[in-house]
């Protein structure tokens, strides 16, 4: 497809389980970002990847969160031992590269609900 694709679109799981969220960026985009949006709040930066550089993990809220990206393609965000406060919409975005004149294009997100 032409846009950023995320899967699943919805995920409901029990507290304590691990979850894996997937993002397919726009083809050719070297930069990939993960954000989350809790109910009634703005988007919160989690992590970004730029080409083969070391990712910026400064936004990850705890060591239960990790993300990987293979080359300039798919990325997965993994949350281990999920907690109820992890419930949010997780959004992925990509851009040609990390520069001010390259706006980030977002997917529709994965709505994660922790019971």
């Amino acid at each position: 497809g032409a846009g950023v694709s995320q899967s699943p679109s919805n995920k409901v799981t029990e507290k304590g389980k691990d979850v894996e969220l997937r993002c397919d960026p726009i083809s050719g985009h070297t930069a990939l970002y993960w954000y989350r949006q809790r109910l009634g709040q703005g988007l919160e930066f989690l992590i970004y990847f730029q080409g083969n550089s070391a990712p910026d993990k400064s936004g990850l809220p705890s060591d239960r969160f990790s993300a990987e990206r293979t080359g300039e393609s798919v990325s997965t965000l993994t949350i281990q031992r999920t907690q109820q406060e992890d419930s949010a919409v997780y959004l992925c975005a990509s851009s040609l590269w990390t520069a001010n004149n390259q706006p980030q294009h977002f997917g529709d997100g994965t709505r994660l609900s922790i019971l």
Binding site: V4, A31, Y33, Y35, G40, Q41, G42, L43, E44, F45, Y48, Q50, D56, S58, G59, L91, A93, T98, A99, N100, Q102, P103, Q104, H105, F106, G107, D108, G109
Partner: protein, 117 residues
């Protein structure tokens, strides 16, 4: 701490009138600002941006104004249309020392715009 603030949770405007959405920031390192529009169950869509070297940028019905001394920006939509009804997010980024965008966007909480026919 909320580095980007949108103090109005909602705004209601009549079709054809001007919509003005406001955003304040506290981090003086921010040098690039963006507005995104979001419909329910969809990801944010980029609308318009402005660099800190400018004070105005215009694209069709959308104009963004930046007041650096006040650390304030606003988005003007003229004329407003019912299809503009959505949540509008202000976002900011800070370039690193090399002048390349750091990549990380800091978002405000959003303003729900409703345009009545």
């Amino acid at each position: 701490d909320q580095q980007v603030k949108q103090n109005s949770p909602s705004l209601s405007v009549q079709e054809g009138r001007i919509s003005i959405l406001n955003c304040d920031y506290t981090n003086s390192m921010f040098d690039y600002f963006l507005w995104y529009k979001k419909y329910p169950a969809e990801g944010p869509t980029f609308l318009i941006s402005i660099s800190s070297i400018k004070d105005k940028n215009e694209d069709g019905r959308f104009t963004v104004f930046l007041n650096k001394s006040a650390k304030h920006l606003s988005l003007h939509i003229v004329p407003s249309q019912p299809g503009d009804s959505a949540v509008y997010f202000c976002a900011a980024s800070a370039s690193n020392a090399g002048g390349t965008s750091y990549g990380k966007l800091t978002f405000g909480q959003g303003t729900i715009l409703t345009v009545h026919p």
